[in-house]
């Protein structure tokens, strides 16, 4: 049988207004982005008020690409977010309490005060807790997929995010190469926000485009406009599908700008104003909201209600967390081993 003659594929940023499933996905993504943005704004406030333990690293401007990763994954997939992935975390299923509890030092958080903030995760639910060393999560995600391959388990995907700066690490290289050799369903998303802390791209790499690295690993490369939620949903969706379908590792490079400092201690004064004023400097959240309005997917009242709802979730989570106890060193067992009987009994404390 001949294949039916298909209509030319539609670009997702000009979607069929009747395509409810796309509109629904888009709105769902937008609402996670919104929740992430409001959560982070709250965290920034709390930080300035001295209420946060440790540093605060935010994802403002990176929500679209992050949420697109999280929303493209399914239960059973693996996700290793990095420091600017609050939106992706929510979309993948993280509860807002996991977030607030870690930042505000509640002992009920997933890391129990032992590790903090962006380092939280729940490996038993497929969300890996990052260590700080950039690039170091990529081989770990690859390993989860390798294990599944060994067991003949197919159809799941592992995704992880990294910055432009992180592509310079040996870990990035070794892990992508290993994943390529094993043709693992790994999606590596580079959020190219033009800077690594203060270091601009031209001091970080010399290739024309980071996506040019894909061919050197023999894997698929994708470029995406990180300010456009529609583009992010389409490209990440495609990359994740291809990985899931046996297409091997996928390298996705999103272009965007971080719209905050490296951390909340940083005023980002080093960012080139020309970049800020370029299309890279557009706010993906504002653009997404505009897109919803322009597409008539929701009216002002609905938007306000969503915002209200998100703000309420944030306030509730913070209020709950604030009433929770801090970790108590006397209740710590101070044993790094799972096999407690093998701890070295000699004490020099």
């Amino acid at each position: 049988m001949l294949p039916a003659i298909a209509a030319p594929p539609q670009r997702l940023d000009q979607p069929d207004p009747l395509d409810h499933s796309f509109a629904q996905t888009y709105i769902r993504a937008y609402r996670w982005m919104l929740l992430a943005r409001l959560t982070e704004e709250k965290l920034a406030n709390l930080y300035r008020g001295g209420k946060v333990q440790g540093g605060v690293f935010l994802g403002k401007g990176q929500e679209a690409v992050s949420v697109a990763v999280g929303i493209s994954l399914r239960r059973g997939d693996v996700f290793a977010p990095l420091i600017r992935d609050q939106a992706g975390r929510f979309a993948f299923g993280e509860s807002i309490l996991d977030c607030t509890r870690t930042y505000l030092g509640s002992r009920l958080g997933p890391m129990r005060g032992r590790d903090g903030n962006v380092h939280r995760g729940r490996p038993d639910e497929g969300m890996l807790p990052m260590i700080s060393h950039l690039g170091a999560m990529i081989p770990v995600v690859a390993g989860t997929l390798l294990a599944r391959k060994f067991r003949g388990q197919f159809g799941t995907v592992g995704a992880t995010c990294i910055g432009d700066g992180g592509t310079s690490t040996g870990a990035f290289h070794e892990a992508l190469n290993l994943a390529a050799v094993e043709r693992l369903p790994l999606v590596v998303v580079v959020a190219n926000n033009q800077y690594a802390y203060s270091t601009p791209n031209d001091r970080q790499f010399a290739c024309r485009d980071l996506v040019d690295k894909a061919v050197g690993y023999g894997i698929e490369g994708h470029s995406v406009d990180g300010t456009s939620l529609a583009d992010c949903l389409e490209v990440l969706g495609r990359a994740v599908d291809q990985a899931r379908g046996g297409g091997g590792p996928q390298l996705v490079v999103a272009s965007l700008l971080r719209l905050v400092g490296h951390g909340e201690h940083d005023d980002a004064s080093y960012i080139d104003p020309a970049l800020r004023n370029s299309s890279l400097g557009l706010d993906c959240l504002t653009l997404a909201e505009q897109h919803i309005v322009d597409s008539d997917w929701a009216d002002g009242a609905a938007l306000a209600a969503w915002k209200e709802d998100a703000q309420q979730q944030v306030e509730e989570a913070v209020a709950t967390t604030t009433r929770e106890p801090a970790p108590d060193p006397n209740e710590e067992d101070w044993c790094a081993l799972a096999s407690r009987h093998l701890r070295d009994g000699f004490v020099t404390e």
Binding site: P123, A136, G143, A147, F150, A336, L337
Partner: protein, 320 residues
């Protein structure tokens, strides 16, 4: 007769046979059977479970951690212990912290062909146990016998924590036993390799045999030297060491690694703090010299402790 190397192969064969979660990953471990043949024939016997890795120690070890999270029991062969410096970060920062941070275990075994052999030079001879033992969250095994090479490797795979398995290349072919053991001393217990009452040598790995040779030599002069084989340097069995020193009153700690820090410092420090009153005379240490491991056999033979240099030191100790 079975060699130390064959025991390592047999332990891996048995682990693969008994536990479907086990796989072996490392450079040339597949059809080739590994640079030292520690996985000889295993790729054929266990298809798809003994796999060649690219030259990427960081990714090899990182991937093992991910696989462990999925419930596997990976064995990583690093071709020489010395090359684990480039996979160091994944071991000490990722594997070693995972359980403490998340309550999820990280049961990986990293096999490090360790220690000096003649002509191997600065980059194929290192003893790295002290580096790993310094970090919380790791078990560091240093088997000195064929039996331990076998049973401790099996235990390493069974343990829910990351294990650094320092197997000594000098013992690979030199050391033979009649048969594989049917029973095993549990990890964390040291072994009295030779009983004695005049002095205690505490050591591990290949140096156990130098110490025994030294003790044999001194026996001809009427001295009875006790030799303790630590078996694992973390956990380190302080009780067995203290009990021995309680009997002999004299302690010499011997290690093949470099002098600053390391196992000998830890042993002497523990005995000094917790067994001070047991010591009749000041304790002593004997290590390699504080330079890279030399290539030329003439230099190498002087760089590391030997039965002879141990005996010289011990005579000083006995004379006190």
């Amino acid at each position: 007769m079975i060699t130390y190397l064959e025991a390592i192969r047999e332990a891996q064969a048995r682990a693969l046979a008994d536990d479907p979660r086990v796989y072996i990953y490392g450079q040339d471990v597949g059809a080739f059977g590994g640079a030292f043949k520690a996985t000889k024939g295993l790729a054929k016997e266990y298809p798809g479970r003994v796999i060649d890795a690219p030259i990427s120690e960081d990714a090899m070890i990182g991937s093992a951690i991910g696989a462990a999270l999925e419930g596997m029991r990976p064995i990583i062969e690093v071709q020489f212990a010395d090359f684990s410096t480039v996979g160091f970060n994944q071991v000490v920062n990722q594997a070693a912290t995972l359980h403490w941070r998340t309550n999820i275990p990280c049961p990986i075994t990293v096999r490090l062909p360790s220690g000096g052999t003649s002509g191997a030079g600065p980059f194929h001879s290192q003893s790295m146990e002290a580096l790993y033992a310094h970090y919380p969250g790791l078990i560091v095994m240093t088997p000195a016998t064929v039996e331990d090479a076998y049973s401790m490797l099996l235990e390493a795979v069974a343990i829910d924590d990351p294990v650094i398995f320092c197997e000594h290349k000098y013992l690979y072919y030199h050391l033979k036993a009649d048969a594989l053991p049917t029973e095993a001393t549990p990890t964390g217990k040291a072994r009295i390799a030779r009983a004695g009452r005049d002095a205690t040598i505490v050591t591990y790995s290949a140096m156990v045999h130098e110490a025994i040779a030294c003790a044999d030599e001194l026996a001809t002069e009427g001295w009875e030297i006790e030799v303790i084989d630590l078996r694992s340097v973390k956990p380190l069995d302080t009780d067995t060491v203290l009990a021995s020193v309680a009997r002999t009153g004299r302690l010499l700690a011997v290690g093949e690694a470099w002098p600053w820090g390391g196992v000998t410092a830890e042993i002497v420090a523990r005995v000094a703090t917790d067994g001070f009153g047991l010591l009749d005379v000041p304790p002593m240490r004997l290590n390699a010299k504080d330079t890279p491991v030399p290539f030329h056999p003439n230099l190498w033979g002087t760089h590391r402790p030997t039965a002879r240099s141990i005996a010289a030191k011990l005579r000083d100790l006995l004379r006190l």
